[in-house]
């Protein structure tokens, strides 16, 4: 009689592993449950996390006032507002000041998390600016926080106007990430480093400055490289501009 514990013919074999069927099914169901729960309750969960972490983020990223824009820009801006007021067109925006809770490189995407939400009358689509420079738009709104999608986010596109002196050229800006943007312009358009891209509309706020001009995909077009005028990684305060009713956007 051969004992079950003794190897047969001196050939030793490992015991077959236990069945993993039920455990595997439970694992898959558990993963699916977690992801579905996070999917359906994404907004309230995100809002809860943001509110819970807001004091810590404020303490971590201690606020420092953004540097003032150049004085000549202030003078031109004031003159622009005065002229429009005299001509009966007001471009005064309702503005909401907000602190930046998360910004690149703390966030892996070109987005900002600010501490103003629907309770402060912030809505999706509102412009976000700092120092007179339009940085992006509000993409998600919670009760007391909001996410901002920067115009320089990769794969984002928006229409702008390239301004050089008294000449303008409509372009489509494509975000490249890290505060960089790119556009294609017809060859011979005379674009030079230092030209500005502004948002279309009555306000015409600056979005980016030209930092380089290169060869385009064909001989008919040139690639123009833009850069945000300020460093997003050093932003502490931003302004949310409520979209005015006369804006064609």
């Amino acid at each position: 009689m051969i004992s079950n514990n003794r190897p047969l013919f001196f050939v030793e074999r490992r015991r077959a592993p236990r069945g993993r069927g039920p455990r595997g099914v439970f694992a898959v169901l558990g993963v699916a449950a977690v992801l579905l729960f996070a999917w359906f309750f994404r907004a309230p969960l995100a809002e809860f996390l943001v509110q819970a972490a807001a004091p810590l983020l404020r303490a971590r990223f201690s606020p420092v006032l953004q540097t003032e824009p150049p004085h000549d820009r202030d003078a031109l801006y004031a003159e622009n507002l005065e002229l429009k007021r005299m001509l009966g067109r007001s471009v005064a925006f309702e503005r909401v000041l907000a602190a930046v809770l998360l910004r690149p490189p703390a966030v892996p995407y070109d987005t900002l998390l600010i501490d103003a939400g629907s309770e402060q009358n912030v809505a999706v689509g509102d412009w976000v600016a700092a120092g007179g420079v339009v940085l992006g738009e509000v993409s998600e709104v919670y009760a007391r926080a909001a996410r901002v999608a920067l115009y320089s986010a990769p794969s984002s596109e928006f229409d702008a106007i390239l301004r050089r002196g008294d000449k303008t050229l409509p372009i489509t800006l494509q975000g490249q990430g890290g505060g960089s943007l790119q556009a294609q312009v017809p060859a011979g358009a005379g674009v030079a480093v230092g030209d500005e891209a502004v948002v279309p509309g009555l306000y015409a706020g600056v979005v980016a400055n030209v930092v380089g001009v290169g060869a385009g995909p064909s001989e008919s077009f040139n690639a123009v490289y833009f850069q945000l005028p300020l460093a997003v990684s050093s932003l502490h305060f931003i302004e949310v501009w409520k979209t005015p009713s006369h804006d064609p956007r």
Partner: protein, 96 residues
């Protein structure tokens, strides 16, 4: 819970939290990867989903992933299962 398991959980948590508090998100990715590759896939998945809720959805073409960090943890857990089965499994031991 073994001491090694406690150590791995603690290091993973420190990496994930440190990456969130310091302006260097790849540190959080290391924490999620450590948890998922060491077999603590549920902890890695939960950490990844919490990071996705905090960071928000991607703005690039990856926006359709919705939970990139969570899916990354699941992928690494799957890599561990496949590696254990096909690369590190012990074969039959035969002796005559």
């Amino acid at each position: 819970m073994t001491p090694a398991s406690r150590y791995i959980y603690a290091v993973s948590f420190v990496l994930v939290a440190g990456g969130f508090l310091t302006p260097w998100w790849p540190l959080s990715v290391f924490g999620v990867a450590l948890a998922a590759l060491s077999g603590r896939w549920l902890f890695g998945l939960l950490a990844g989903v919490i990071l996705d809720l905090a960071y928000g959805a991607p703005t690039t073409t990856a926006q359709f992933l919705f939970f990139p960090f969570g899916l990354f943890a699941l992928l690494l857990a799957l890599v561990r299962v496949v590696a254990n089965r096909f690369l590190f499994s012990r074969g039959f031991r035969e002796k005559i």
